[in-house]
Symmetry: C2
Subunit: 199 residues, 2 copies
C-alpha cells in the first residue's frame, strides 16, 4: 500500500487528511487519533505536527472537505431541477443524503469546536460559508417575492428542521415507541415537507 518510503513520506499532509477522513467516516471525530494515523502511515507520532498545529486543525481540514462536498451536491441538485421550487426540495434532500449517507463526515462538519473557534482555518470558514450560500440561494430563488429578512427566516428555520431531525435520528432519539407507526422514510418525507413550508 506504500511505495519506496525513504526518510520523507512524500505527501504526509494529504495522506493525513485522507486517513483522518477514513477514520472519521468510520467512527466520527472522536475516533480520530493522531497517534493511530501516524502509525498507520508508518510515520512517527510527532510527524503530523509538522503539517498541522494541532489535532483540531487536521479535523478542520476534513470538515472543510465535507462542506465542499455538500456545496457540490447542492449545485448538482439545483442544476438538475426543473424549477426553483423543485430545486429547493432537492437541495434539502441533498442535505439529508449527505447526513445519512456519510454520518461520520457529517458529525465532523458540525463538531462544535471546529467552525466556531478563534483559530478556525480560512479553508473551513469559506467552505462552510459557500455551503450556506448554496442553501440560501435555493430559498431565495423559490420565493422571488420575499424580502431579505423573510428569506433568511425561511432558510434558517428550514435548515433547523432538517438539521434537528438528523441530529435526533443520529443520536438515537427517535426509536421504537417514539415513532411507532411511522417508518423512517415516512418521517423523512414529513421533515422535507415541513422544511419547505413557508409559515
Amino acid at each position: 500500500m506504500a511505495t519506496s518510503r525513504g526518510y520523507h513520506h512524500g505527501d504526509l499532509r494529504a495522506a493525513l487528511i485522507g486517513a483522518a477522513l477514513a477514520a472519521a467516516e468510520a467512527g466520527g471525530p472522536e475516533a480520530v487519533s493522531l497517534r493511530d494515523l501516524a502509525q498507520s502511515l508508518g510515520v512517527s507520532t510527532a510527524a503530523p505536527y509538522r503539517h498541522f498545529p494541532d489535532r483540531r486543525a487536521l479535523l478542520a481540514e476534513v470538515a472543510a472537505l465535507g462542506f465542499r462536498e455538500l456545496e457540490q451536491a447542492y449545485a448538482r441538485a439545483q442544476a438538475d431541477a426543473p424549477d426553483a421550487r423543485a430545486a429547493l426540495r432537492e437541495t434539502a434532500r441533498a442535505y439529508l443524503t449527505l447526513a445519512f449517507g456519510r454520518p461520520g463526515l457529517f458529525r465532523m462538519m458540525f463538531a462544535g469546536d471546529l467552525v466556531d473557534a478563534a483559530d478556525a482555518p480560512a479553508s473551513l470558514l469559506s467552505a462552510a460559508r459557500e455551503a450556506w450560500e448554496g442553501l440560501y440561494r435555493a430559498v431565495a430563488a423559490a420565493d422571488p417575492g420575499a424580502d431579505l429578512a423573510e428569506v433568511k427566516r425561511r432558510a434558517i428555520t428550514g435548515w433547523s428542521t432538517l438539521h434537528g431531525f438528523i441530529v435526533l435520528v443520529q443520536g438515537g432519539r427517535l426509536k421504537g415507541f417514539m415513532t411507532e407507526p411511522l417508518t423512517e422514510a415516512e418521517l423523512l418525507e414529513a421533515v422535507l415537507e415541513k422544511t419547505l413550508t413557508a409559515n
Copy 2:
C-alpha cells in the same frame, strides 16, 4: 465547604453528581473530569469508581437530572396555559428556555453516547422518555382530531425544528452575515412559529 470528613465521605455519590452537574453547566460534558471532581471533593481518584462503573454512567445521571427538569418545565407550562394551543406553544418555549438558559446541561442531555447506549441506566431512559411524553401530550392535546401517526409526525418534525435551531445556534452556525437583519429574538419567534405550524 466541608464538614469533619473522616475516612468516609458521607454521600460521595450525590456529591459527585452535584459536582459533575456544576462542571457540566460551566463547560459541557467534555469539561467533566473524574480526577478533577475527586480532587475538588477531597477524595482519591479511584473513589468515584465505587459509585459509578465508569465516567459515562456519572454523566448519564446528570443528563437524567436534566430530563427530569425539562419534564417539570413542560408540566408547569401546560398547567399555566389557558388552552391546549397555548399549552403547546409554552411547552416548546420551555424547551428553548432550558436549552439557552442552561446550555451545558442541555448538551449533556444530548451527548450522543449517553441515551443511545447499550448500558444506559434505567434512570436516564425513563427520564428521557417522560420528557418526550410531555412534549407528545401537548401536541396531541392541541389537535384532538389528528390520528396517532399525524400526532407523531407533528411532534417529531416540531421537535426537530426546535432542536435543530438550538444546535445550530450553540454551534455558532448562525452568526453575522447569516442572520444579518434578524435579531436572535426574532429568529426565536420564527422558530417557535414554524414549530407550531402543522404542515
